[in-house]
Amino acid sequence: MDKTVFVGMSGGVDSSVSALLLKQQGYKVVGVYMKNWSKDLPGMKCPWAEDLADAKRVAVKLGIDFEVWDFEKEYFERVVEYMLSEFKAGNTPNPDIMCNQEIKFKLFYEKAMECGADFIATGHYARIIDGKLARAVDEKKDQTYFLYRVSEEALKHTIFPIGGMLKKDVKKLAEENGLHNAYKKESMGVCFVGEVGMKDFLKEYIDIKPGEIREVETEKVVGHHEGAVFYTIGQRHGLYISGNVGEVNTGLPYYVVEKDLKKNIVYVSRNINSDLVWTDKLELKDVLVRTKQFISRAASGRPVATGGRRSSSRCRAPDPLETNCLVRLRHLGELIPAKLENNVLVFENKIKRPAAGQSAVFYDGEICLGGGIII
């Protein structure tokens, strides 16, 4: 009998072509639209309805079954609330990573398996090589940064049909097969935040608390902010800095370099060479190491997640050695050589310090070894 694949269909071209390829490869394909939480604006036309219709339209065209699975409640609890609590703690979390870990490769995976799936599939640009997560062929589209926390058990039953393709070829294939969404505009940013932007979104849930923006070198007040939690280390835009500060306005922009949550002060600097901006060490928490080849004494073996809901099966026993790897500090970021020592990444050359709460993801060549969350 044909193997059954449940493919997550978002209405975009990537997951549509994924479904198309699986169908062509002879799988029995079931398309699933995952209804995740989105902010309910009273009386507003619902933003996901069009995506759902696009997904269904493609499923009908391919002649495959199509279902809508409602994960709104779980998505809110596991992704949105996690994100809010991280922001409140002064961090800058990555909800996409949490969505993959908790929703797409957990809830969706588990429900698909219960429904008789042999595999799940998504339209992510990523590959699985010998059971290991690997970067996509299209390096400009690679999404492994968002996938490093996906459980190995789920990966074992996952297909990434377009991971070996270039995006332009995906679009071409969609067009050749008459898929109407071949050139649909790509969704940008965090899905549930939508058009309004993260800060406006957060303001709905976190009270505004005005405070001072100070220049870190001089402690001089250079402006005011609406709450330190809304600002991110490295941020340059959206700072309300008063016109001419100090004796000479250098014209250089201010960067957020530090936050004092207790005193509600945001510290900024114009000195791009400040020691607060550059660092050669990053301390991590919740380090997850995916393959045994990655030898490390970093992973302490404690549970790696943020919600306490996860199985401990994905924590590997630490190996008492250290090794080199390549590290990516943001989606599609540069691959930087580093060494992991006791949960601390050590870089040969100084790097710009990323915001706490972001992830550092480790690679060995094209294999994604795992990662951790920056403290």
Binding site: K35, G43, K45, C46, W48, A49, L52, K56, V60, K61
Partner: protein, 374 residues
Amino acid sequence: MIYLDHAAATPVSKKVFEAMKPYFSDDFFNPSAAYLPAKKVSSDYEAAKGVIAHAIGAKANDIVITAGATEANNLAFSILDGKVLYLATEHDSVRKVAEKHGGTPIDVDKNGRIVLDDLRAKINDDVVLISVALANNELGTIQPLSEVAAIIREVRLDRLSRGVKTPLYLHSDASQALNLLNVNVARLGVDLLTLNSAKVYGPKGVGCLYVSHDVKLKPISLGGGQENGLRSGTENVPGVIGFAKAVEEASAHMNGNRKKYAEFRKILLAELQGYELVNKKHSLDNFVVLCYNGIDAERLVFLLEEKGVYVSTGAACAANKGTKSHVLAAIGLSDSEINGSLRLTLGETNDEKQIHEAARLINEAVEVERGRNG
């Protein structure tokens, strides 16, 4: 293309388009301006309103032009200073406003017709407004409005005899019916009536609310005092000229069209497998609502779209929002019947050849789905 979704939108007819054209360019003046060319535009506008009003047995001054039926329905509810009753199958532009005012729905029977006893039971002394669409937009069901009006007259008399001062008004959204039924405000006994240009081969974004003399509405926008002060804003002259032309056309072709649609409906019912959801005795001639139990009708919509046949499941809004149709639920259909219901609405773009072809393609799509389900 075979377009079978005339209840969702109609193309602007050639005559309507031609009538509108000068008012975009040569006769662009603001009707409120002082010079003579503007006065001409102003009087053309008033004349056009007169044409629309005349079609429902009213005068130009009795109607308030709005940007479509939704706005007209919202305006109608601006009188509210008390309770409202509305038919359970009303369009969202009535239902949502009524719900905001804590309105109570009136039951419908399995054909979507108002249950008059339920209406009687629910009218108490606090009720100020009752809203019942002349014809439903998902089923085509025609309501016995004059019977509703008779009940309202009884209640009014009773209130007077007991010294109860609360007024009671009847509002009806006649958007779907204007080109298929004789709509006359006096005969229907309504105090407020909504019309929509976009459903009768006029331009979109234009509609109106008929307001009888004893109803006092509150303005929905303040400004220059246009539309009797109820809806300020420079007049949409080309839109209203087009609406008026469309209304004229509708009256001229009504009888011929009704006969034609009844004929087409017969053909579809003979050739299609699905069963009809409501009794056609009380339904608009251009509505064919079929149920294919066990089939997901939305899949049929997408399959047919590939063949250039455009049809609908329930109301377009309901289909898009991923929620079940409140109309089909109100007539007591099961989830599987709701999922399997397909709405075909005939119109002036159709001819007999198209109808046979559509029937063939719909049957084919149904076969594809039945085959897929095994």
